[in-house]
C-alpha cells in the first residue's frame, strides 16, 4: 500500500469511528441548531444597550455565538476522544513500521474532514435560522471552519497531554466554555485580552460575514496564528506520544 493509501485508510477509519455511532450523527445535526437557537433566545433577554458591544442585534449576535461555540465544541471533543481512543492503536502502528508523519497526517486530515462537515452543517443551520439574507455564506463557513480547526487541534493537544477521558474532558469543556464567554462579550472584557481566546477571531470573522457580508481581513492573521501554534503544539505532542515513549 502506498503512503497515500495508508493515510486514506487512516482518515476513513477515523471518520467511520465517529459516524458509526448514530447518536453522534444526530448530535452533529441537532446540536448546532439547538445551540444557535438557544443562544439567540438567551441574548435577546438582555437590555439592548449598556452591556454588550454588539455589531448586529443581540439576537443575531447570540446566534453567531451559538454557531461558533457549537462548531468549536463539537470539533474539540471529537479531537479529544479520537486522540485518546487512537493513542494505543497508533502506537502499535508506529511499532509495526508506519511512519509517524503518516499517522500525524491521518489524524489531522480526519479532524479537517469532520471539522469541515461540522462547519458546513453549522453554516447551513445558521443561515437558515437567522431569517435574514446572508450574502456571504461562504465566508461564514470560513469563520466556522477556523473555529472547528482550532478546537480540533486543541482537542488533539489536550488528549495527548491528558490521555484520560475525565481529565481531558474537564480541561476541554472549561477551555471551550470560558473561551465562549470571552468571545461573546458577555462581561465586556477588553479586546486586548479577548483576542487571545481561540474563538474570538472566528467569532469576528462570522460576525463580519453575517452583518456586513465582508471578510474581516484583520482577524485572518491572528486566527491563522492561533491555528499555527495549536498545530505545532499538537503535532509535537502527538509525535512524542506515539513514537517517543516506551510501549
Amino acid at each position: 500500500m502506498t503512503a497515500l493509501g495508508r493515510v486514506g485508510a487512516g482518515v476513513r477509519a477515523g471518520t467511520q469511528s465517529f459516524v458509526r455511532e448514530p447518536f453522534n450523527v444526530v448530535l452533529l445535526l441537532v446540536l448546532p441548531a439547538l445551540s444557535i437557537q438557544i443562544y439567540g433566545v438567551s441574548l435577546a433577554q438582555f437590555p439592548a444597550v449598556g452591556i454588550f458591544d454588539a455589531a448586529g442585534t443581540l439576537e443575531t449576535t447570540g446566534r453567531i455565538t451559538g454557531a461558533v461555540f457549537a462548531t468549536g465544541a463539537l470539533a474539540g471533543v471529537l479531537g479529544l476522544f479520537q486522540m485518546i481512543s487512537a493513542r494505543h492503536a497508533d502506537r502499535r502502528l508506529a511499532l509495526c513500521g508506519f511512519p509517524d508523519v503518516e499517522l500525524v497526517v491521518s489524524r489531522l486530515l480526519t479532524i479537517a474532514v469532520v471539522g469541515s462537515v461540522i462547519a458546513g452543517v453549522a453554516t447551513v443551520t445558521l443561515v437558515a435560522i437567522l431569517g435574514e439574507p446572508v450574502s456571504a455564506a461562504p465566508l461564514v463557513f470560513v469563520g466556522l471552519g477556523v473555529a472547528a480547526a482550532a478546537y480540533g487541534l486543541l482537542g488533539i493537544l489536550v488528549g495527548t497531554v491528558l490521555p484520560r477521558e475525565l481529565e481531558g474532558s474537564l480541561v476541554l469543556v472549561i477551555l471551550a466554555d470560558v473561551d465562549n464567554v470571552f468571545a461573546s462579550g458577555l462581561f465586556g472584557i477588553d479586546e486586548s485580552i479577548t483576542q487571545f481566546a481561540p474563538l474570538s477571531h472566528p467569532h469576528e470573522l462570522v460576525t463580519a460575514a453575517v452583518v456586513d457580508g465582508q471578510l474581516a481581513t484583520e482577524h485572518l492573521l491572528p486566527a491563522g496564528g492561533h491555528l499555527l501554534v495549536f498545530a505545532v503544539l499538537s503535532i509535537a505532542a502527538y509525535t512524542y506520544a506515539v513514537g517517543g515513549e516506551p510501549a
Binding site: E21, F23, N24, L27, L31, L34, S35, I38, Y39, V41, S42, L43, A44, Q45, F46, P47, I51, F69, A73, L74, V77, L78, F81, L162, R164, E165, L166, E167, S169, L170, V171, V173, I174, A176, D177, V178, N180, V181, L186, F187, G188, I189, D190, I193
Partner: protein, 244 residues
C-alpha cells in the same frame, strides 16, 4: 452504613486519590475560571435584576458570584458523568459477586457528594476573595445545591448516553442554563427558564450575595429539584446495577 458500602466508598475515594491530576484539576480549574473573570472584568457597577428588584453591584463581585455556580455546575456535571461511566463495569461485577444495588447506589452517590464538595470548596475559596456575600451560609448552600443538581444530572446523562455524547450534553447544559438563562444581567428572561435545573439555586445564590434576605421557597425548590433528580438518578442507577 454497612461495611460493604464503607469498603466500596473507601475504594472509590482511593481511586480519586490515586489520580492526582484529577484532584489537581478539580482544584485548579475553579481557580482559573473564577480568578480569570475576577481579574479581567472592568470594575464598573452593573444593574442586576434579583427577585424583581434592581440591585447595583461591582462587576468583579458579580463575576465572582456568578462564575461560582457556573464552574461548580460544569465540573460536578462532568464528574457525575464519568463517575457513572467508569464504575459501570466494576459495578456489574460487584453485583454478580453479591453486592446489593442499593449498596452500590449509596456508595456511588457518596463519592459524587465528595467530588461536588471538593469542587465547591475550591470555587468558594477563590470567589470569597472577590465578593463578600450578605448571607454567607445561604451562598454556600446555594453553591452546593447547584453542584449536586448538576452532579446528579451528570450521572443521569451517564446512564442514558455514551461518553462522547454525554460530554457534549454536559458541556452545553450548565453553560446554557446557568450562564445564559439564570443571568441577573438579563432584564426580560422567558418564563420557562424558571423550570431549568439551575434556576432556584442561582436565585438563592444571587439573593444571598447581593441582598439581605432570601426567599425560603427558592431554597426549598432547589432542594426539591435535587431530591427529584436524586430519585430519578437512583432509579436509573438501581436499574443499571440490577444486572443478573
Amino acid at each position: 452504613m454497612n461495611g460493604r458500602v464503607r469498603t466500596l466508598a473507601a475504594m472509590g475515594a482511593r481511586e480519586f486519590a490515586r489520580t492526582p491530576v484529577l484532584l489537581a484539576l478539580l482544584v485548579v480549574l475553579p481557580v482559573y475560571v473564577i480568578g480569570v473573570f475576577v481579574l479581567l472584568v472592568d470594575d464598573t457597577a452593573v444593574p442586576l435584576t434579583i427577585d424583581g428588584s434592581v440591585v447595583n453591584a461591582e462587576m468583579s463581585a458579580f463575576a465572582a458570584a456568578f462564575m461560582t455556580p457556573v464552574t461548580v455546575a460544569i465540573l460536578a456535571g462532568i464528574v457525575g458523568l464519568f463517575l457513572m461511566q467508569s464504575s459501570q463495569a466494576a459495578d456489574d461485577r460487584l453485583r454478580l459477586a453479591g453486592y446489593r444495588a442499593g449498596e452500590l447506589v449509596t456508595a456511588r452517590f457518596g463519592l459524587l457528594v465528595v467530588g461536588t464538595l471538593l469542587v465547591t470548596a475550591a470555587s468558594l475559596a477563590v470567589a470569597l476573595t472577590a465578593v463578600t456575600p450578605e448571607l454567607l451560609g445561604w451562598f454556600v448552600l446555594a453553591t452546593v445545591l447547584t453542584g449536586l443538581t448538576y452532579g446528579i444530572l451528570g450521572v443521569v446523562v451517564g446512564v442514558v448516553l455514551d461518553r462522547l455524547p454525554g460530554v457534549y450534553v454536559m458541556l452545553f447544559a450548565p453553560m446554557v442554563d446557568v450562564l445564559m438563562f439564570q443571568n441577573p444581567l438579563a432584564t426580560d428572561p422567558p418564563t420557562w427558564t424558571s423550570a431549568l435545573p439551575g434556576h432556584y439555586a442561582t436565585e438563592l445564590l444571587f439573593a444571598a450575595t447581593f441582598t439581605t434576605s432570601v426567599d425560603g421557597t427558592d431554597a426549598v425548590a432547589a432542594g426539591g429539584y435535587v431530591l427529584l433528580l436524586l430519585v430519578l438518578g437512583t432509579g436509573l442507577l438501581y436499574r443499571t446495577t440490577a444486572v443478573e
